[in-house]
């Protein structure tokens, strides 16, 4: 329909959004350019390129990119496109190599992206004043790359803001996950799950801090696990992790109201804080001891007291610090999204910690899990329900005006507030209506 800033701005009201933000392919294309082309987008964790020559191939706002470790200090992010004819240079997801060689005509690059080999010699380009050392013969770097405590973000905009300032309070969710390692280090391990959703990416990003759906949508698995847990372990002792992980999704509305939601600049948010659905997991004594030895009592209490549920670094990155899993949003089209789930090992922590994170991923994030299919189904029904003529607006007015400023410079509200969605769309509108080039 030929959107301009004025039309887009009119799609976002204080208490709701126009349904086309989820359903119109033209809006999706604009989002890729203006939201996903400007925001910091999560790429990978530095542990995925552990040694010089390690590479990891992924996408950034649908574009193929290649993360490469040049040496101990330097990690480069290139567009995965040969400078010669434009083929993807590396098709393999990850590996280690001395050179990055295009399989089509053999052009080869070193880990700094400089061209090292042109098949048949670069003299053939003399007439146009080009040789191997020319920039146009090198791999092209993604304009902005930042590493926050091992988490690598990139932006297609050369004017991306300072990463820590941009992350705001959600930086402390990353800090908390890193601090949960007795040596302050995380390592991606245990594989990746890729889960396809036939729905718009924003439904997923909203749902993570939607505190009203769990006890309804996940009743069939969570309530079942809860009841079975009570029957099988009436004294609440030795409750297996499976039950501990599934049951809290069936907590009542009061519990989720109490968890609360917290929204910040740039669309970021988290839910929980003092308590969350991860707060009731039983302790692992060996782990707690290793943390005490590393940090001392006061600091350890501070680390463990932060019990956030989901943190959303809008628009691409979500994490659960307390259980060391991350989910990465990969929009494919207006109604197709892939969610990648990764597990992080707390370096220096006992094996049980990793096993619990793996179990959590299996139960909550895999394609065959017991909880996610209900979310997926909800998104599917949203995508289709919004296709009806019943109305153009999606309500986001719950508890509007009842937000309160929090100590971290954002706003907090009771769990069932729509505040997080309003905050996401405020950021969305700012990205979508900013003048070209502005970050």
């Amino acid at each position: 329909m030929g959107y301009n800033s004025e039309k887009i701005a009119a799609m976002i009201r204080d208490d709701g959004v126009h349904k086309a933000v989820y359903t119109d392919p033209e809006i999706f294309d604009l989002e890729m350019e203006k939201v996903w082309g400007r925001a910091w987008i999560f790429v990978a964790h530095e542990s995925q390129v552990p040694e010089a020559g390690s590479f990891y191939s992924t996408t950034l706002a649908r574009q193929p990119v290649l993360l490469v470790r040049e040496d101990e200090e330097t990690i480069n992010l290139f567009f995965n496109r040969c400078a010669h004819k434009g083929a993807k240079v590396i098709e393999q997801e990850s590996g280690k190599s001395k050179v990055l060689r295009c399989g089509y005509h053999g052009w080869s690059y070193d880990m700094s992206g400089r061209c090292r080999h042109v098949t048949g010699g670069d003299e053939a380009y003399r007439a146009i004043g080009v040789d191997k050392s020319s920039a146009c013969m090198s791999l092209t770097k993604v304009p902005s790359v930042a590493n926050y405590r091992g988490f690598i973000f990139a932006s297609l905009s050369p004017d991306a803001p300072d990463i820590k300032t941009w992350l705001g309070a959600t930086a402390t969710s990353i800090d908390n996950m890193v601090d949960r390692s007795p040596v302050g280090r995380l390592e991606v391990t245990g594989g990746t799950l890729r889960y396809s959703h036939d729905s718009n990416w924003k439904f997923f990003v909203e749902n993570l801090n939607d505190m009203m759906h769990a006890m309804i949508a996940h009743q069939s698995s969570a309530q079942t696990a809860r009841v079975m847990g009570k029957q099988l372990f009436p004294d609440d002792k030795n409750v297996p992790s499976e039950i501990q992980i599934l049951s809290p999704f069936a907590e009542n509305t009061d519990f989720f109201e109490e968890m609360g939601v917290h929204a910040f600049e740039n669309g970021h948010s988290y839910s929980g804080g003092k308590t969350s659905i991860h707060a009731g997991y039983s302790g692992i004594p060996e782990y707690e001891e290793s943390m005490l030895n590393a940090y001392g009592k006061e600091k350890v209490e501070e680390i463990f007291s932060l019990n956030r549920h989901n943190t959303v670094v809008y628009p691409s990155f979500t994490l659960k610090g307390a259980i060391q899993t991350i989910r990465v949003v990969k929009p494919i089209s207006v109604d197709q999204t892939v969610i990648e789930s990764w597990t992080l090992r707390l370096v220096g922590a006992p094996d049980e910690m990793l096993q619990r994170s793996i179990l959590y991923c299996n139960l909550i994030n895999s394609s065959g899990n017991l909880v996610g299919p209900d979310d997926h189904e909800a998104y599917h029904r949203l995508q289709h329900g919004l296709g009806s003529d019943a109305g153009d607006w999606v309500s986001m007015g719950r508890h509007i005006g009842a937000e309160e400023p929090n100590e971290e410079g954002g706003l907090s509200a009771t769990g069932s507030s729509d505040m997080v969605f309003r905050s996401q769309f405020k950021a969305w509108k700012a990205y979508m209506t900013a003048a070209n080039g502005a970050a």
Partner: protein, 161 residues
Amino acid sequence: MYSTPDIRELEDFLFLEARLLDEKRWDEWEALFIDDGEYWIPATRGQPDPLHHVSIMYEKSLLRAVRLKRYRHPNAMSLQPEPQSVHLVSNVLLDAFDQDTGTVTAHSKFVVLEHRRETTNTYGGSYTHVLDKAADSYRIRMKKVELVNCDGILESIQIYL
């Protein structure tokens, strides 16, 4: 001392298991497992274990009980309408046999069609069944489902493959 099992006997067992799944005879299917029996769909090729690497499913009796109760739950949103399936099992081979315990490892290939709402999904791969000899037949110690696209991008898998 147990005698080497006949392939036809293994096929009978595997075909029955497939049929119970397709006909949603969950209690009979669950009864095929030993108490600690494992059901496992790895998420990567050659995955060494289900504890240090994510899986598409890894369930023992407790989680299977949750899932089977969920199948019958009135508010299981993603199971409305419920999926229908057909499991085809073929190429059955005897991989290992322990004469002293009677434990058998059977290898087979499968194709599963799953239909729900307007979509039919196709799954294919290999089964490994580790089977304990029971009085009249076998009980499942472990069923490993190695999907040919285990590390691909997958939609919700709500049925046992």
